[in-house]
Symmetry: C2
Amino acid sequence: MSLVLEEFLPYRFNRLAETLSRNASVAYKSEYGLSRSEWRAFALLGQKGTMTATEISYYSTMHKTKVSRAIFALEKKRWLAREVDETDRRLERITLTAQGEKAYENLVPKMQGIENELIARLGKQNSEALFKGLAALEKLYLDKETASRSQKAG
Amino acid sequence: MSLVLEEFLPYRFNRLAETLSRNASVAYKSEYGLSRSEWRAFALLGQKGTMTATEISYYSTMHKTKVSRAIFALEKKRWLAREVDETDRRLERITLTAQGEKAYENLVPKMQGIENELIARLGKQNSEALFKGLAALEKLYLDKETASRSQKAG
DNA sequence: ACACGACTGTTACATATGTTACTAATTTAG
DNA sequence: CTAAATTAGTAACATATGTAACAGTCGTGT
């Protein structure tokens, strides 16, 4: 009785996740020196506009301390600015600066290019299969409804 | 122009990899207190028999220092034993002890059960699509021929 | 009004990981 | 044969991450 690590799904996912991320990170790392967590927070701010740290944490699936550090680094770069919410002084509303927006507009097409090339190299059949499979997995494990219910249950 | 993080492939893979690994880790973590890297090294030793640390590193895609630490932890548990190779005294041939084998025989069905349940919940259509997509990705990015060639090129 | 609990974000501490430097053993080139 | 280069594995250092504790703010109930 034996388990073949190479065929074990969690391992396959980890290996591919690491490879795809390393591949994509070239764009934001070499040109801007961003870390992966900084990139995630940054991408969310560019996508959604003003957010709080807690919201970034929620949508990026990153621990709040990780978000806190990522935000700090982006602030030091002057890519974002914070403003205390006057109606609830615990909250900080975080927004990209003009400089941050500019970097975002520059970076997004490159990131999309990397993904598009990947999909093109996969071919239509394979990428459609991949997306179908990923969506099904996400529905099982990451569906917000399901997830929050099972969290409260646990 | 905007990139939707939730739809970005490297992010989706990282999120799913983390979720699947956390899900699977319950078995080896709660019962045996193994870490993820210890589990990987252990699974390989159970699967392939005697190996060197370098071989474990190669097949587990883990840095050699990570492997070194994982092996040390498993040795402390008395789950493996090392023997210096007399024909090349740099090498250590690592093998599971009887105790390690026993744990392996106990753990493997549980890990397979976790994976089988996942696949069952996905359904035949979705899991077939998933496997097709993953295999295509692995062929693109992890094929040993391609990888070693591009490594030497880089 | 005010005590209590809950929430936001940061800091301090412990742990995990990667990079580099190292020892010991072997192989290769001359 | 011997010096230089290579390999296996470990250790030291720096960095990254998670856990726990914390300060400040808010909402609730009395």
